[in-house]
């Protein structure tokens, strides 16, 4: 969630009667080309509430727990198998099920808890459901077996809350060390009025809080890669030219200096980093500010690109049950109502990688998301206060792989003189070997205190040489120039698969923090 999105949404929020009307005009529907490979099922929602899903977690028995912006926890049974889709009823403000649909094909909802102060993180451990609200991590449990939480225990409440609406607190699941991460948004998403606003915090199993990374601006979600490394998404704004996926290395500075006064309260973090220079470049400031970790991936901003409001960090640990992208990371976007796909690699010790469009046409503004080891990808959200292309105020949805493999770039690897692309299907060597099938551009953002940044410092590289592997599964591109710190935008409009298909999403944005030596 981020400040300064669509002004329209403010209007929509205040006039629910007209919003439904306008929504229809704005709504973006699923793309039939994508639907052949990934199907979106939008579920009916329970009556009497707005299911503004802001966090998703699986219970040990597979049921899906959802925290909402209204502070409720709903538990959905049969969500993995349900096929009955809901139809939006603007009058009743809910998705309605077909009353004739058999119950065995429906999601069954149960309200487990209510009245919490907005739940942007859920996790499970030892029979407890952990939740992150505005100002604390708590854990809840049903002690009577009636299906409702009766005990709400405070785990950690050591970060501040000033009463500002934008001080969102996103919570993770348990990391590989058994800690929970809390990403505390800046006050108003600009400054830090109260301790540790603008920080990543770790909550140890005993409830103690460890300030872990500074420089956070306005997070949208937090999650892990396949190795258990921790990442969060941040949003375009001051010191953020675009939305980003950022690697949370303990002790690091993530780029926005607005909360750095709290180094005084975090002796474990060492001295306060030097201030970044305004109107500079990330690649230059990395040289000056040794704690500064560059964004692993820029989620390139703007219509028709990647997104405007990145949220959850969802790693595919389904080992192929969600299709060919095992171990890759999927990131929904609240305002574009889409999901993007990220492949990461480590170069010179720094995380970096590429983002591709993946799937559009979610019904609302996705915030919470989680994929099971069975490849069932649950995503829910709300457009309240910002607006979303999906057009509807909230939604709970499942994305399923249909079993068909789309022709896509699978991975993109940085090389000393260009990139190596792998594909999900063998390529046609003629089109894949033709430089006219590609176009490339390199650009970056201004690293500045002003809100956002245009794309600047354009470089137009030439693709000098192309080698298509014998098996057709990879292509090596030699560029005449690579630019450290730039986003390398590559279009593959002319590339065809061996079967003659174009690439489903023929664009890649690679953030080249480091150029490998070999």
């Amino acid at each position: 969630m981020k400040a300064q999105r669509l002004l329209l949404s403010v209007l929509l929020g205040t006039l629910p009667s007209t919003s439904a009307l306008l929504s229809v005009a704005r709504a973006e529907t699923p793309d039939p080309a994508e639907a052949e490979y990934y199907k979106i099922t939008t579920f009916p929602t329970p009556p009497g509430t707005a299911l503004e899903v802001s966090s998703v977690e699986f219970l040990p028995d597979g049921r899906v727990a959802m925290g909402t912006r209204r502070g409720e926890v709903w538990i959905a049974s049969n969500a993995q198998n349900a096929t009955n889709a809901g139809v939006w009823n603007p009058k009743e403000m809910k998705y309605e099920a077909d009353p004739a649909a058999p119950a065995k094909n429906s999601v069954i909802y149960q309200r487990f808890a209510e009245g919490q102060h907005e739940i942007l993180g859920l996790a499970t451990k030892d029979g407890w459901l952990y939740a992150t609200n505005r100002y604390e991590v708590l854990r809840m449990k049903d002690e009577t077996g009636a299906g409702k939480a009766t005990r709400f225990e405070t785990v950690c409440d050591k970060w501040g809350v000033s009463g500002d609406y934008h001080e969102y607190s996103f919570g993770s699941r348990f990391d590989k060390n058994g800690d929970l991460w809390v990403l505390a948004c800046l006050t108003g998403s600009f400054s830090s009025k109260t301790p540790f606003r603008g920080w990543a915090l770790r909550v140890k199993p005993d409830g103690t809080m460890v300030p872990t990374c500074s420089g956070v601006r306005s997070p949208g979600g937090v999650g892990f890669d396949a190795d258990g490394e921790v990442y969060y998404t941040d949003n375009q704004g001051p010191w953020h030219g675009a939305c980003t996926l950022q690697h949370l290395i303990p002790g690091s500075f993530q780029g926005h200096p607005g909360g750095n006064q709290w180094y005084d309260l975090a002796p474990n973090m060492g001295p306060r980093p030097v201030e970044p220079n305004d109107a500079s470049r990330m690649v230059l400031e990395r040289e000056r500010v040794k704690e500064l970790v560059p964004p692993a991936v820029y989620m390139v901003y703007g219509p028709g690109k990647i997104g405007n409001s990145s949220t959850a960090v969802v790693c595919d640990l389904s080992a192929g049950k969600f299709g060919p992208f095992a171990k890759q990371i999927f990131i929904p976007d609240q305002s574009h109502s889409n999901i993007s796909r990220v492949y990461l690699e480590t170069v010179n010790g720094v995380k970096q990688g590429v983002v591709f469009p993946f799937l559009k046409g979610l019904r609302s503004g996705p915030i919470g998301a989680r994929m099971g080891s069975d490849g069932k990808f649950f995503v829910g959200g709300s457009d309240r206060g910002w607006g979303a292309k999906g057009g509807q105020p909230f939604a709970f949805e499942r994305v399923d792989w249909t079993g068909k493999v789309p022709f896509e770039v699978h991975e993109m690897h940085a090389k000393p003189d260009g990139f190596e692309l792998t594909f999900t299907e063998p390529v046609d060597p003629v089109t894949a070997g033709n430089p006219a099938s590609y176009s490339a551009r390199e650009f970056t953002y201004i690293y500045q205190a002003k809100y956002g940044s245009p794309e600047v410092d354009d470089v137009w590289p030439k693709i000098e040489k192309i080698d298509v592997a014998k098996d057709g599964k990879s292509v090596r591109l030699k560029f005449d120039v690579l630019t450290k710190g730039h986003i390398h935008e590559l279009h593959l409009d002319g590339v065809r698969s061996a079967k003659g298909s174009p690439v489903l999403h023929p664009v890649a944005y690679y953030t080249l923090n480091e150029i490998p030596a070999k």
Binding site: V10, G13, T14, T18, A50, R69, R70, G71, E114, G115, Q116, H117, E118, N133, Y135, E136, L138, E143, T144, K148, A149, T150, R151, F152, E153, T154, D157, K158, G160, V161, S162, G163, D164, Y165, H166, T194, P195, R384, G385, W386
Partner: protein, 547 residues
């Protein structure tokens, strides 16, 4: 290019338009209908601002869905309505005989005293003099929160010395008229912007110049609707630019202007098809005033009735207590609101570890937090709000007599305390847990009875562990304390929440409670039971009144 118009103006709020008295010749006989409702268990009117035109015929539907009697009394501008009611109650016998309707020259219109769930239709003619006419419920104890303003808004100044220059040309955007020679020029009859100078239907332009008298330093809203492009310049400033070829739809822009006379320039061009031009303005002190002869059909000619966007999602405890953790005005930032079905409510603070506030009637409206982005602190929806201990921690060791009770500083850790959470019992009643210097404390509050029939909040604190010597629990501070009715009448500090003053009076009973200066204390022990009751501020409010 006018085929879109019926759709474009259908979005204008029909209700707002119908609320506004427009004494045009055609509508003179049609009264303007206004509905004014009381809010259930909130001691408020639904609308605290009504807007009508001078001299308009009005049909007022006054509805009282509340469980208490209410009236509405309209007064002359400048009337202090609370003082008016206070003065009436100086003669309580007479006031009761008059059903608490003041006989006062300041009152120009009043309803009956409506019993719960009654309605009354009142027809009246609005004052001809523009101004702010306050209205109030004059039933005892209601005036502080049940009030509003009827705004009678006249029209604002019109253009003066209006001249036109007519040009010929085929444009897609407004040209630079200063480089063109006009076809003809002249004065505009009636000083209203209009298009019918010649028989030209297409491909012409007009530049109007005149003067506008800005009556005061204030913010003004300018409107235009044009088919095709237009641009409005006031003084040196371009206030609206609606260039290009398009059907007429309302554009608006707000400008702060200083009092004085300003030159005004209105540029317009017509390509082909429909041709329309509307120009208007308004301020807080006058209603929307057309500066053109044409006004879009259905365009609201006045100010919308102000509805509060922070109302409309009341949380009603029905089957059991309801919990609402959010920003509740007057209770800090880590507040846990609890409402009971009987209309008794409180907020407990996970910052001060203490009961922070209690109130009667409706629980809370979630609209502020559940519509839009959810900013700000929401005051209780009910009334008789009390805050006895004024955001202070519950326990302290007082070694010396007259020692100062520790205070709470927002966003500073509360020394010696740790917040542990809460649990719900079988009825859904929460008990709050915290540790104070090694002592485990459970704090439970439950409503007994109904707010309409003397209901109370019963609080039980259970302490486990070694209780320090000379430890006390704070029941109230900064208060006037009078022994009364097996307990203490507590008059707390003046409590103002988002513009509303509350009497902050209650009765506290607890075994062993003692007065210490302006504080009410009870020695800390293993179990402490406290009863909170409200003094009866509305002695006649719960019995139906004679008509």
């Amino acid at each position: 290019m006018n085929f879109l118009r019926p759709i474009l103006f259908s979005g204008v709020l029909a209700t707002a338009a119908s609320l506004l008295g427009v004494p045009s010749p055609l509508q003179a006989q049609e009264p303007v209908e206004i509905t004014l409702k009381t809010l259930t268990a909130q001691m408020k009117f639904e609308l605290n601002e009504l807007v009508i035109s001078p001299g308009a015929k009005v049909k007022l539907n006054f509805e009282n869905p509340d469980d208490m009697p209410h009236n509405v009394v309209f007064c002359q501008p400048g009337t202090d309505v609370v003082q008016l009611v206070t003065k009436m109650l100086e003669k309580p016998e007479e006031a009761m005989k008059n059903n608490f309707l003041p006989e006062d020259p300041k009152v120009w219109l009043k309803s009956r005293l409506l019993n719960p769930h009654e309605k009354q239709v009142i027809e009246f003619t609005a004052p001809t003099k523009p101004g702010n006419y306050p209205y109030v419920c004059s039933f005892p104890g209601h005036a502080a929160t049940m009030q509003g303003v009827l705004r009678v808004l006249g029209e604002g100044p019109k253009l003066q010395d209006l001249k036109f220059a007519l040009y010929h040309g085929d444009w897609k955007n407004l040209p630079d008229f200063s480089t063109l020679t006009p076809h003809r020029t002249g004065e505009v009859p009636g000083n209203l912007v209009q298009l019918n100078f010649d028989d030209y239907k297409n491909q012409y332009g007009l530049v109007f110049t005149g003067k506008l008298n800005v009556p005061a330093n204030a913010e003004y809203t300018f409107y235009c609707a044009s088919d095709d492009g237009c641009r409005i310049t006031v003084g040196e400033e371009r206030v609206l630019n609606n260039d290009g070829i398009h059907p007429a739809s309302i554009k608006e822009s707000k400008k702060k202007l200083k009092k004085g006379e300003y030159p005004v320039k209105i540029e317009y061009f017509q390509a082909a098809g429909g041709a329309e031009l509307y120009v208007g303005w308004k301020s807080d002190a006058f209603d929307t005033t057309a500066l053109s002869s044409w006004t879009p059909p259905n365009w609201k000619k006045g100010v919308e009735q102000k509805t509060n966007e922070f109302v409309g999602m009341p949380l009603e405890p029905k089957d059991g207590p309801l919990i609402y953790r959010n920003f509740i005005a007057g209770t800090g930032n880590r507040s846990i609101g609890v409402g009971f079905p009987g209309g008794l409510n409180f907020a407990w603070s996970a910052e001060t570890m203490n009961l922070s506030m209690a109130w009667k009637g409706a629980f809370i409206d979630a609209a502020r937090h559940w519509k839009n982005r959810g900013g700000g602190h929401q005051p209780p929806a009910g009334f008789d709000v009390v805050r006895p201990s004024d955001m202070a921690p519950p326990f302290a060791v007082l070694d010396a007599p007259g020692a100062v009770w520790p205070s709470f500083v927002a966003d500073q850790p509360l020394e010696g305390y740790a917040w542990k959470g809460y649990q719900l019992d079988a009825k859904g009643v929460p008990s709050f847990n915290y540790v104070w210097n090694g002592v485990e404390v459970e704090d439970r509050l439950e409503a007994k009875g109904d707010f309409k029939s003397g209901g109370t909040l019963v609080r039980t604190l259970t302490l486990k562990g070694k209780i320090p010597e000379k430890a006390f629990l704070l029941l109230s501070q900064k208060s006037k304390l009078t022994p009364a009715d097996k307990g203490f009448a507590v008059q707390g500090e003046k409590l103002n929440l988002t513009g509303t003053n509350y009497p902050n009076q209650l009765l506290i009973r607890a075994e062993g409670a003692t007065i210490s200066g302006d504080a009410l204390l009870v020695p800390a022990r293993k179990q402490i039971q406290i009863t909170y009751a409200w003094p009866e501020s509305h002695p006649a409010s719960h019995t139906p009144l004679a008509q």
